[in-house]
Symmetry: C2
Subunit: 220 residues, 2 copies
């Protein structure tokens, strides 16, 4: 591991666990075992280290999403896995740095700070969310073609709602104690699929009191 990488590794840990302002150059120096002055040989300043960390994070999550999708061949698995893999990325980070799956990190805060400091970071973040949105829309369209997903739902609204529930879950789990990760997470994930699939509707349509049942199939 190069010195530059060592610096990023220990910086990232602290940015995620303590936030931007509470991560000091003294702290990074102490934890990485590299003297403070040397940090300035490798990086111009604290912000330079910070934006490197954000780039690394976003590259990692995109890579994680892409590789978790690669083995899948049907829209249902893809959509369920997409949801899970993003949550998983977060909980894995939490466990790595906090030895605790549910103790929240400052992922969102990092993006917000970075976004407010530099235009090109804001653009990179937009690029990530666009990637997420495009990925979801592609899955939806595939599902529509295969008659698995009802085809008169506006694809981009659906994609936005997917992302919104995901972000909401992550944000809420940071500050609302009642939200225990596993319990709610699976219910949320299930409802996302069942509410868009034709199959769920048709299954229910074969039973009595079709209309109400059909709607309930969506569990929403």
């Amino acid at each position: 591991m190069s010195t530059k990488d060592k610096i990023i590794a220990s910086s990232l840990k602290n940015f995620l666990t303590k936030g931007y302002e509470n991560t000091t150059m003294n702290l990074i120096a102490a934890e990485s075992g590299i003297k403070k002055a040397s940090l300035y040989y490798h990086y111009k300043n604290k912000e330079d280290i910070f934006i490197t960390c954000i780039g690394y994070l976003l590259d990692s999550i995109e890579h994680h999403i892409e590789s978790s999708q690669s083995e899948l061949d049907n829209p249902k698995d893809k959509i369920l896995t997409l949801f899970s893999s993003i949550i998983e990325f977060n909980t894995n980070l939490a466990y790595r740095y906090n030895k605790n799956y549910s103790k929240p990190l400052n992922f969102h805060q990092m993006l917000k700070v970075g976004s407010s400091k530099f235009i090109f970071v804001r653009e990179r973040i937009d690029q990530y969310y666009d990637f997420l949105k495009d990925t979801i829309m592609e899955i939806i369209d595939e599902g529509k073609k295969e008659k698995l997903i009802v085809n008169n739902i506006n694809t981009d609204i659906l994609a936005f709602q997917f992302i919104s529930i995901l972000e909401g879950y992550l944000a809420l789990s940071e500050i609302y104690s009642s939200i225990t990760a596993n319990k709610i997470r699976n219910q949320l994930r299930d409802s996302i699929w069942s509410s868009i699939s034709i199959k769920e509707n048709l299954q229910n349509a074969n039973k009595k009191s079709t209309i109400t049942k059909t709607f309930l199939g969506a569990r929403w």
Copy 2:
């Protein structure tokens, strides 16, 4: 306006616009026109000012929600208004302090910092979200009784999803440029009601190709 209130007013503005760490005692002193040493006569320290601000914020939003609900007499209006009033509370703050409805504040970050510092703040935040959840569940139950809302959807899951979409929208609008407030907000709000109402289902049921249409009535 008492000196204590003046201090809180100018502190709150800065906590919301700049975040906890970037709001310094020097800044509060300068903006409130009260010398730094005097701040310490009225409040024990920076944290004391901060938790007073959080209490004030949560009291205000609860009051805003309650009063916006008071004039309403049916579940549909209640649920739509609940969503709007919380978004409105946020955008009003943004406009007051930033002269810009869509420039994000640090509301969520304040809650998170407060939550991590003091147990009783965490409890107060839980109390707010419990209040929100209970309010929603009450509306849902009322709607079920009046046969306006399908009655075999789990009420507390629905309440959680409502909150989740709301928080997701707020979180996302802080960092994703593509989300322009008005455009998406109304679509989200509409879909929340139409996806749970019996009326939407029955309306669609009277048309052809019932199953698919019914589902689309949910716009989800």
